[in-house]
């Protein structure tokens, strides 16, 4: 094992670049997932005949598939039907699809935590259903949603490492590139990136727990 060689400034910089890619991909994916998951979550919450059922089926199927399969599918299978994306776009699409299904459930249960009387009150004060959701239900539900969304972001940061299979230059991939140079680097580099993931995710998990305590009343 060669810790000093492994932790050369060049290598550390390269890993840092990888981590920056991880964070970017994860952040973009969570934003898109929030929008897409929000739509599906509301569709399931609203209990519109047929539409809600279809939304439920889509969410359940995606939630119960391995993310790795979705990544492979977007990158290798979609080109067969004429949809070709680059590595970064494929990773973002796959992560967004998968995380949207997760967030849809979080958002739905957040909305469900708001007492039904709130809808009735909103409607009887003259707001439309959409307005009631947007101005009354959503702002109250979001307090319950934030902690699990932060937890989901932790999963997302970890899951982004799966994009190593399509050679997305994120932290895991860059670690492998370094490891390919010298077998004595392998253990030191994995220890290093494990610590990086751990520190960032641990801080996030503390934030999630704090938020949970705060929103608990």
């Amino acid at each position: 094992m060669d810790f000093i060689g492994a932790y050369s400034p060049d290598n550390l910089l390269f890993l840092l670049q990888g981590f920056w890619m991880t964070i970017q991909v994860a952040a973009i994916s969570i934003v898109f997932s929030f929008i897409l998951g929000g739509i599906f979550g509301v569709l399931r919450y609203a209990k519109i005949p047929v539409v809600s059922k279809i939304a439920a089926v889509i969410v359940e199927i995606i939630r119960n598939l391995p993310l790795l399969l979705i990544i492979f599918f977007v990158y290798f299978a979609l080109p067969e039907i004429g949809l070709k994306f680059g590595v970064v776009a494929s990773a973002i699409i796959a992560l967004t699809v998968f995380e949207s299904a997760m967030l849809a459930e979080i958002i739905r249960s957040g909305l469900n935590s708001v007492p039904k009387g709130q809808i009735e009150a909103g409607r009887s004060s003259g707001l439309s259903y959409i307005q009631t959701l947007w101005y009354i239900i959503f702002p109250q539900g979001i307090r319950k949603m934030v902690p699990p969304i932060v937890s989901q972001f932790i999963s997302l940061l970890k899951d982004t490492s799966l994009a190593v299979v399509i050679a997305l230059p994120e932290l895991m991939r860059n670690a492998q590139v370094i490891n390919a140079q010298n077998v004595n680097y392998i253990i030191p580099i994995f220890i290093f990136i494990a610590v990086v993931y751990f520190i960032v995710n641990y801080i996030l998990s503390i934030i999630a727990r704090r938020l949970e305590l705060k929103t608990d009343y």
Partner: protein
């Protein structure tokens, strides 16, 4: 439309992968259940160093990607002279990772058993270990089963990463078949269906259990 001849002509490989995925998931479930139970008891036991170890294990492995564990075992350990097959390395990685989550689930279950139960058991002459084994754990298990079911679903999904170390499970067989037939789209759809055959009934069952448990409380 999907080309079902791919499914029929390669049914032996699909089934082989399906079998291996189930096998790996079961092995890892049993291993992580044993390890997770020990860790959970460590975290609760009235012995400080055990608490620290349990907490450190759970927090560390929950916050790093499972791929690091897999790569560490599969490519890092050989540097130290420990060479494991992809199958063993993959199963171990799944076990080590999932144990952290199962430990948390079991700990929550144990903590949900009223304190008086432990005191009552202790004052009726049982030792701490006996009280844990015969009084607390049997009561905790009821609460623990739904989250355990969820972890099993995650295990099945996570077992797909074994394809990276060529361990012969479902995802890997899918990759082999698509490399042989030059068809990716249809093969991945079939692979997805095989995963769903395992995960959808499980998640339905977990949902039912959770609802029933919520009612009985």
């Amino acid at each position: 439309m999907l080309d079902f001849t791919i499914l029929t002509e390669n049914s032996d490989m699909f089934l082989e992968g399906f079998k291996n995925t189930l096998y790996v998931s079961f092995l890892a479930l049993i291993g992580s259940f044993v390890l997770g139970t020990i860790l959970a008891v460590f975290r609760i036991a009235p012995i400080k160093p055990l608490n620290w170890f349990g907490t450190a294990y759970v927090e560390f492995f929950r916050n790093i990607p499972i791929l690091i564990i897999l790569f560490f075992i599969f490519t890092g350990l050989p540097v130290l002279g420990i060479r494991l097959s992809g199958f063993v390395a993959g199963t171990l990685a799944l076990m080590i990772y999932t144990a952290a989550f199962i430990a948390e689930a079991i700990r929550a279950g144990i903590l949900s058993v009223p304190k008086g139960q432990m005191e009552a058991a202790r004052s009726s002459g049982l030792t701490y270990n006996q009280a844990m084994l015969h009084v607390i754990l049997p009561q905790a298990i009821k609460i623990v089963i739904p989250p355990l079911g969820n972890q099993f679903i995650n295990l099945v999904k996570n077992s797909s990463i074994l394809t990276i170390v060529a361990a012969g499970e479902l995802m890997y067989q899918g990759d082999l078949i698509s490399a042989r037939t030059f068809v990716v789209f249809d093969v991945y759809i079939f692979v997805a269906v095989f995963y769903l055959i395992i995960t959808l009934p499980l998640s339905y069952g977990v949902n039912r259990l959770e609802k029933r448990l919520a009612k009985s409380n």
